[in-house]
């Protein structure tokens, strides 16, 4: 069984980190570079930076912050990526992979070209679900200055996603994002949908401690993503690890992390 990842999500809006709640309400949370450095010092598996400013372009303040932070943790960046030069700028700044959402659904041709140019492994497809609380989720693409928001059924979304070349999918419970313990997606997305995606899944959006283990045990799960709570306390990441993985964990879902943090800290 492959190792599962525990990924940290940093949400950015207009160049600053925010704590996001359902993508409707935000609290200011400081600068991006310091957030990246902190997560890096905690030895998180990966960091996902999501720019939710809803601008149809890459925010180069974020790119500068990524360069400035000089972290070694793998970074996945999403938000406003539209062109090959956007991808190049991010890779040169130190990102390892890119999240595509708008391009994934609205411009599959460009998505194909980018995957051909940089490799499928470099791209993760983002699927924002709304309506999970009512048991019947839809995919909603939020608009920006250039395009309107659109809703699509799971069937319609699946037809696009199945032929997309991205390597993994980022499934977001958008309504419950930021509300720990209220994640509802796994109970209402049909198994056939998930199997048809036929790629590793990263779950995100208010995942609570009680839900983590069962999500990780799903065979298709590649990773869990956590957001706001990682900004609230020191070394919160290792506490989450301890909650999920007992020392005598026989499933080998994830080896212990505390020793890695200690090793990293000794280098201070």
């Amino acid at each position: 069984m492959s190792l599962k990842r525990l990924v940290a999500v940093v949400t950015v809006r207009n160049g600053l980190v925010v704590k996001s709640y359902g993508y409707r309400f935000w609290r200011p949370a400081g600068g991006l570079a310091s957030a990246l450095r902190e997560l890096d010092s905690w030895c998180v598996d990966e960091i996902v930076i999501l720019d939710i400013s809803r601008k149809p372009r890459l925010d180069h303040r974020n790119v500068a912050a990524i360069s400035q932070a000089m972290v070694t943790t793998p970074i996945i960046y999403g938000g406003g990526v539209r062109t090959e030069s956007d991808v190049l700028a991010l890779l040169q700044a130190g990102c390892d992979r890119i999240v595509l959402e708008s391009l994934l659904f609205r411009n599959s041709e460009t998505t194909m070209l980018l995957c051909e140019r940089f490799g499928n492994q470099a791209f993760v497809g983002s699927i924002p679900f709304f309506g999970a609380n009512h048991g019947s989720p839809i995919v909603r693409l939020m608009g920006d200055e250039d395009v309107n928001a659109i809703d699509m059924s799971l069937d319609h979304a699946l037809r696009i996603l199945q032929v997309s070349p991205v390597s993994e999918f980022f499934l977001i419970d958008a309504d419950n994002e930021g509300f720990t313990g209220q994640f509802s997606l796994h109970g209402c997305i049909p198994k056939q949908f998930l199997m048809a995606l036929n790629r590793g899944l990263i779950w995100f959006g208010g995942i609570g401690p009680e839900q983590m283990r069962s999500l990780l045990e799903m065979p298709q799960t590649a990773a869990l993503a956590l957001g706001n709570r990682l900004l609230e306390r020191e070394v919160e990441y290792s506490k989450v690890q301890d909650q999920i993985f007992a020392p005598t964990d026989k499933t080998n879902l994830r080896p212990g992390l505390t020793s890695r943090i200690a090793y990293n800290a000794m280098k201070d």
């Binding site: 609290r27 400081g30 310091s34 902190e38 706001n228 306390r233 200690a262």
Partner: protein, 411 residues
């Protein structure tokens, strides 16, 4: 963009977000003080206290950092008398202590009968750091904040004390960075990002400065290994009691005999009365850099507690933010060992200049509001020098009438 209730704008250095009604996140979070079940919140604190009480073999259950301002009496009252914890009280010396600040620290220690450690970096090093931070960043507070936020953690680390109790998290109180139910705790990142303006001490030594690694040794935050596994937790009392600096300060003055003091550039007789640079030189630099002065922070608090209307708040802000702290500038120049004229030249380079004296007089509503602050009869304008240490001090900066402080504009 400006908040529809308080005076903060989107230019706040911590960042500020707004809801669809134009209410800022600071005001939104503040409303939790009226709506949360604080009895339930306090039970969480009691649970935490029980988990550390006498359990780990050290002579203390927690470290409590304090300053010489009245609100810390409230903090210690909760920690010692309500929670029953054995605190080690610590304080980092700012070098700019007022008589009132020293007196309050003294009284804190005696009133609560606590063990107390105060640390003062040697003056040469401290002065070097203040000069460097002033010159490079226009900020003289960095050394004090760096020391104040690292000394208690280092003490906790060295003595094996598992808990540090701070009063409140400033970004949460001002701009609503967290909800109180999220129970944020102090972290290295929060310290670096919000307390130290993004300047971690590790990044301050460079060939262009006079600072060496040794100069910064008093300001180092302990390594991550010290906090792994919950060995040290740094919690905020404001997560468990609805924080109100003014109300707690007034309790301290009336119940414990803490001293209040009139201060430059503000009506607030409790806020920052321990440090003679805060409401003088520092506040001038802050006003120049950020476009607003400390008085706005106090006014936003008062508006949020519905103790003051926005109109009167604006009036008070306009009145106080232009006041010129002559005595404070003189004292600081002497401490820094520079000619006062040269220091004024430096201030001018930072955009700080004395404005024309205003003919504005405060309205009766404003005067009535100000009169609600306890006046212990002391004033920063009556001080002539900073105190480094003191015990059993007899206060000499007593102001018996407002006229005595007229020339320095301290109300």
């Amino acid at each position: 963009m400006e908040c529809s209730e308080c005076l903060y704008t989107s230019k706040h250095p911590f960042g500020l977000e707004f809801n669809s009604d134009g209410l800022c996140t600071g005001c939104i979070t503040h409303k939790e003080k009226l709506t949360l079940d604080w009895e339930k919140r306090f039970k969480e604190l009691e649970k935490l206290a029980k988990s550390v009480l006498g359990k780990h073999g050290a002579p203390y259950d927690c470290v409590v950092p304090v300053r010489g301002t009245p609100e810390y009496f409230y903090v210690l009252d909760i920690v010692k008398n309500v929670l029953g914890l054995r605190p080690l009280v610590v304080s980092y010396n700012s070098h700019f202590n007022s008589q009132v600040g020293i007196h309050n620290i003294d009284l804190l220690r005696d009133t609560f009968d606590v063990d107390f450690q105060m640390y003062a970096t040697n003056k040469n090093t401290y002065q070097k750091l203040v000069r460097e931070m002033l010159y490079r960043f226009g900020n003289l507070r960095w050394p004090f904040i760096a020391g104040e936020t690292s000394f208690p953690i280092r003490v906790a680390d060295q003595l094996g004390i598992p808990l540090v109790i701070w009063p409140y998290h400033q970004p949460t109180e001002q701009v609503g960075m967290h909800s109180y139910v999220e129970e944020p705790e102090m972290s290295r990142r929060s310290r670096e990002e919000f307390d130290l303006m993004g300047l971690d001490e590790a990044r301050l030594t460079s060939p262009e400065t006079l600072l060496t690694s040794n100069d910064l040794s008093d300001f180092r935050y302990p390594k991550l290994t010290s906090v792994i596994g919950g060995r040290i937790r740094s919690v905020y009392l404001a997560n468990f009691v609805p924080w109100d600096s003014r109300a707690f300060a007034e309790i301290a003055v009336t119940k414990f005999g803490a001293r209040a003091s009139r201060n430059w550039r503000t009506f607030d007789t409790y806020d920052r009365v321990d440090d003679l640079t805060y409401m003088s030189v520092h506040d001038l630099l802050k006003f120049s850099a950020l476009g607003y002065a400390r008085v706005r922070d106090s006014l936003c608090r008062e508006i949020r507690f519905s103790r003051l209307s926005r109109n009167v708040a604006r009036e008070l802000e306009e009145y106080y933010q232009i006041q010129w702290p002559t005595g404070g500038i003189k004292m600081f120049s002497e401490w820094l060992e520079v000619n006062e004229e040269d220091f004024l030249f430096f201030l001018a380079s930072q955009g700080v200049e004395e404005q024309e004296k205003t003919t504005q007089t405060l309205s009766s509503a404003a005067l009535e509001y100000i009169a609600g602050f306890i006046d212990s009869g002391f004033s920063s304008a009556g001080e002539e020098r900073y105190l480094l240490y003191g015990k059993g001090i007899e206060l000499t900066n007593v102001v018996t009438s407002p006229q005595q402080s007229k020339s320095s504009n301290a109300h």
